[in-house]
Symmetry: C3
Subunit: 266 residues, 3 copies
């Protein structure tokens, strides 16, 4: 498969590609949510889309549901394709609730994960423990992503708290801070019950952050991806993307779909 030749095969495509960096990217990252893909589907995803995926999340607490050999094979394939891979934050939250944090880090390192998500979407997490989890992640050789936001329906964002969380998490060693939107993208974080973005809050967050590029916005719905791409630019970091929507999102980033048709002309 001549992956290297893709996008270069014709002058027609020079412009649309101009707006897009290659891996390892420092911006324009895409994070996929994996809800239990088998090996054929996973190979399909890598063969079509590896250059467009920076990070993959083994969703919620599904990690222990896999046959160990199959999961290890997925992690190995991700690594070969320069895709960071982490268990969903809920799995770590289960470990915290069960007092099994050291076991958790041993386990995911042995399985072959390259990243970890530190979140408090369901449990309460004191700052001290949050810091400890970030440090444990880094000490285990993992890239650390933290998350801001509760998973409860109707949860909203406390902008000041979010700004402080991003600041300290990054100081403590987090690479990016994810903003919670769940698999659905409705009634949580910056999105209202219909999945529409709360414009004022978004503006407030972005204008006050010293480096908005440190945020990875969960945005599972197409309308949300378009909204954030238009508001924050085509190299915004987006996450919780379904595997079957990667080509759609990549088209949106490059002005190859109607909704962002003007992008390459900028």
């Amino acid at each position: 498969m001549d992956v290297t030749s893709r996008l270069e095969w014709h002058p027609l495509l020079k412009d649309p590609t101009a707006c897009r960096s290659v891996k390892p990217r420092t911006s324009g990252k895409t994070m996929v949510m994996d809800k239990g893909m088998g090996l054929h589907a996973f190979e399909d995803l890598l063969q079509t889309s590896a250059p467009y995926i920076d990070l993959l999340k083994i969703g919620f607490g599904t990690t222990p549901l896999y046959p160990t050999g199959l999961l290890k094979r997925k992690l190995e394939l991700a690594r070969q394709n320069q895709i960071a891979i982490m268990p969903g934050g809920t799995f770590l939250e289960v470990a915290v609730a069960q007092g099994a944090v050291p076991d958790f880090f041993d386990t995911i390192r042995l399985l072959g994960f390259s990243a970890v998500e530190v979140s408090d979407g369901t449990i309460e997490l004191e700052r001290n423990l949050r810091n400890e989890l970030i440090h444990r992640g880094r000490d285990s050789g993992l890239t650390v992503f933290t998350e801001y936001g509760k998973k409860l329906w109707g949860s909203t964002i406390d902008v000041e708290q979010l700004l402080e969380t991003v600041l300290i998490d990054v100081q403590q060693g987090a690479t990016l801070v994810t903003i919670e939107a769940r698999e659905s993208g409705t009634g949580v974080g910056i999105f209202d019950a219909n999945g529409l973005c709360r414009d004022e809050e978004l503006h407030c967050i972005v204008s006050q952050l010293p480096d908005p590029g440190r945020i990875l916005w969960e945005a599972p719905q197409k309308q949300q991806q378009i909204y954030l791409l238009k508001a924050l630019g085509s190299s915004v970091n987006l996450g919780n993307i379904a595997p079957h929507d990667i080509y759609s999102l990549e088209s949106l980033r490059r002005g190859l779909r109607s909704d962002t048709f003007q992008f390459p002309q900028k």
Copy 2:
């Protein structure tokens, strides 16, 4: 693939697994609706999820759309993985409408189905014929599932009729009685136009049934699965689950997703 080792690989996971029985299960059954999966997708499903699937339905009347060899291969793989497999009830209803009931049973036995669904979602079915279909199923060596409920938009449940149907169907030889919710889960059975569960009706049914464990609730939407798991316990029988939602549902059953996080602590 060391399937047997899954879930046992670490003490961390001891608690979440405690709430879950292994196949063949007498409760906590999961039924998948298959809308036409090819062999690669089917193999993926079995490799990742065979321990979590008890029953698979070749949806609606799609059975004759398959190349015969491919369908036989799917049925064989299901059998090898201890998954009962049946054609959607609509296919039998087509046979009834065409006066081809004996042909129907010959055909599905030859193809390798191990179960059958007797339903009247579209046609009217007299009790006598309903009994005959249950008996024919059992005489053909098939596990018999019956279904209660009409498929028409806005159909609701007549609780008394349902209770009587369950009682007689089980007497006649049905293993479980499915409650109709279609592929969509909206505007039918116990679910309203928005897919929300009619609480009163559910309570009424469950409190009056001698054995509520004889019911398999079709619940295609995540919110419906959560509702029923919380109302009836993590070992409720659930059906019409999309193949890509099996890991999500299994996480919900085990307290590995935010919405049922409290489950293992019970």
Copy 3:
């Protein structure tokens, strides 16, 4: 795989198949929208569904996102299975906007596409240029599909303009004219914000067209497929069907699903 034997394996199925022609069809065509399927998923689709798919669209501008070898393999497999294959109209619109029309036609012919879609869903397209694109398509040996309708949310249909467009496009060499409904099927063309069909407009279009069979209706939602099948007959041309909905649509066409159960009895 004994594809030829499917549907013929039992007398029970004689009736439902009676309503359906075989490929190459002159009516009852089904067009699939492909959002980036990998090879395993594509093989699955062909093995289960090749007889039911007449045309496949490599959605929007995703064509250049593929590794070249993989895309060529998909086009080759489509050709072997008598499925016409075209890039989404947006890709040609990008070429028009970038002044790269001759390059576009060279490229897609070299890749192995067998059809092309000429559309103005996003850009404005003068009649002269529209004619030229139709002619270029035919001169390149491609089957030409044109499209009527804007992609902008809230776009509606100008019936007179549509009638004129269909008439001239067909005169100029288009095989079929697609009516825009996007991937979502909401707030565009004949569908309102809830995806419901504007009955009056549909009736108006169909009654005034000399040959309504020249239309291919994009209808991604199940309710839309049912509506059009009931209004225009089971051999209406339907498009933008998701790959996982092909068996459902084919069941609807043949009276093998509740919503069109009466079909074979007609």
